[in-house]
Amino acid sequence: MDRALIDSLSSTFDALRVEVPREDRLTVQAPRDAVMSVLSFLKGRGYDHLHMVSCVDWMEEGQFELVYVLSAYGTGQDSASNPGEEIILKTRIPRELPTVVSSISLFKNAEPYEREIHELFGVRFEGHPRLTPLFLERDYEIPPFRKDFDTRQYVEDFFGSIPPVGEEDQDV
C-alpha cells in the first residue's frame, strides 16, 4: 500500500484509524460525520470504483457498522492508485437511530446498495431519492437482516410449519 496515501489520510483527517492488514489492503475506521469527506478524498485520489456498501449488525455493542469497499479502475492519470488494492472504509453508527448521509452524489451505484441496507437493516440514508422497498413484499416488524430477527420463528409463524430437520435442532 502506498505510504503517501496513508500519511495524507491521517494528516487530513483527525479521528481516523488506519490499518494495513495486508500488503494490498487498507482499513480505515472513520467517525460517521467524516465518511463523506473521506470518500470524496479517496475518490479524488483515484479510488473511483465503489465495490459495495455493506452493513454489519454488531448487536452486543449496539452499533451498525457501515462498510464501503473502494478500489481503482486504474484508468486515470494518477498512477498512484493501483487497481489491485482495496480500501475498506468503516464507520459505526448507533443501532437505535441509524442515519447516515447517502453517498449517491459521489458514487451512483451506491443507490441500490443503500436501498437494500435501508430495507434489510433499517438504516436511513439522508438525501437518498427513493428509499422504497427493493426486494421484500411483506412488512417486517424487525428488518430481517438484523441479528435479533429470528427467521425460524418467523417461518413457523407465517408459513405454518417448519420441516423437521433433526440435525439442525441440536444447534451445533
Binding site: 421484500l136 417461518v155 408459513f159 430437520v165
Partner: protein, 184 residues
C-alpha cells in the same frame, strides 16, 4: 349403446390433444429454469413430446414451477395460473416448492406450494436433470388418461381455502376472486 362409452369416444380427441400438446408457460420462477433451456433445445428437445414454451399464460396448459417460490413470485404465479384456460396442469420442479428445500428456514420463500395453488405432480431433486422433465411429462400423460390430473377441478372446488391461504401470506390480493366464494 352405452351412453358413457359414447361420451368417452367423443372426448378422446380432446384428451389426446391435452396429452400431446402440453404448452408450458415460460416463467422463470427460480433456479430450476436453468434446466429448461437445455430440455427445449437441441440436446434433449422437448418438442418431440409436444412440449413447447409459450409466451403468455393464455396459450398454455402446463405450468412448470421451476424452483423456489418467493413471496413476491407467488403473487405472479397465482395471477399466471388463474389466467391459464382450463384444463391446466401444474408440475412443481425441484425440491424447493415441495417443502422449501434448502431454504426451509428462509423468511421469504414459500414452503408448501400446494397450499396456494393445486399441483398435479412433483419432480424432486436439486437440480433435477432434463430427463426428469420428460419423466414428469410421460407420467402426466398417464394421469391425464386416468383423469387424475384434476388440479384445476380441485382449485375450483376448494377455491375458498386456497384463497384464504393466499391472502394469509400475501396480505390482501389486489384482484377479485376467480370463482365466487360462498360463505361457509
Amino acid at each position: 349403446m352405452d351412453r358413457n362409452q359414447l361420451v368417452k369416444w367423443l372426448k378422446a380427441p380432446a384428451k389426446m390433444g391435452h396429452k400431446y400438446s402440453l404448452h408450458a408457460v415460460y416463467f422463470c420462477t427460480g433456479c430450476g429454469i436453468i434446466e429448461v433451456p437445455p430440455s427445449i433445445t437441441a440436446r434433449w428437445d422437448a418438442e418431440r413430446f409436444g412440449v413447447l414454451p409459450t409466451a403468455t399464460p393464455r396459450q398454455a396448459n402446463l405450468f412448470l414451477i421451476t424452483g423456489y417460490v418467493s413471496v413476491k413470485t407467488l403473487r405472479a404465479i397465482i395471477r399466471t395460473y388463474e389466467q391459464m384456460p382450463e384444463p391446466k396442469y401444474t408440475v412443481g420442479f425441484g425440491s424447493c416448492p415441495i417443502n422449501g428445500g434448502m431454504y426451509w428456514d428462509s423468511y421469504n420463500t414459500i414452503k408448501h406450494l400446494d397450499r396456494y395453488i393445486p399441483i398435479d405432480g412433483w419432480i424432486a431433486g436439486c437440480m433435477p436433470r432434463p430427463e426428469a422433465i420428460f419423466v414428469a411429462v410421460t407420467h402426466l400423460w398417464t394421469l391425464i388418461d386416468k383423469d387424475m390430473a384434476d388440479g384445476y377441478k380441485r382449485y375450483r372446488k376448494h377455491y375458498a381455502a386456497y384463497r384464504a391461504n393466499q391472502e394469509k401470506v400475501l396480505r390482501g390480493l389486489d384482484w377479485p376472486p376467480l370463482f365466487p366464494v360462498e360463505e361457509q
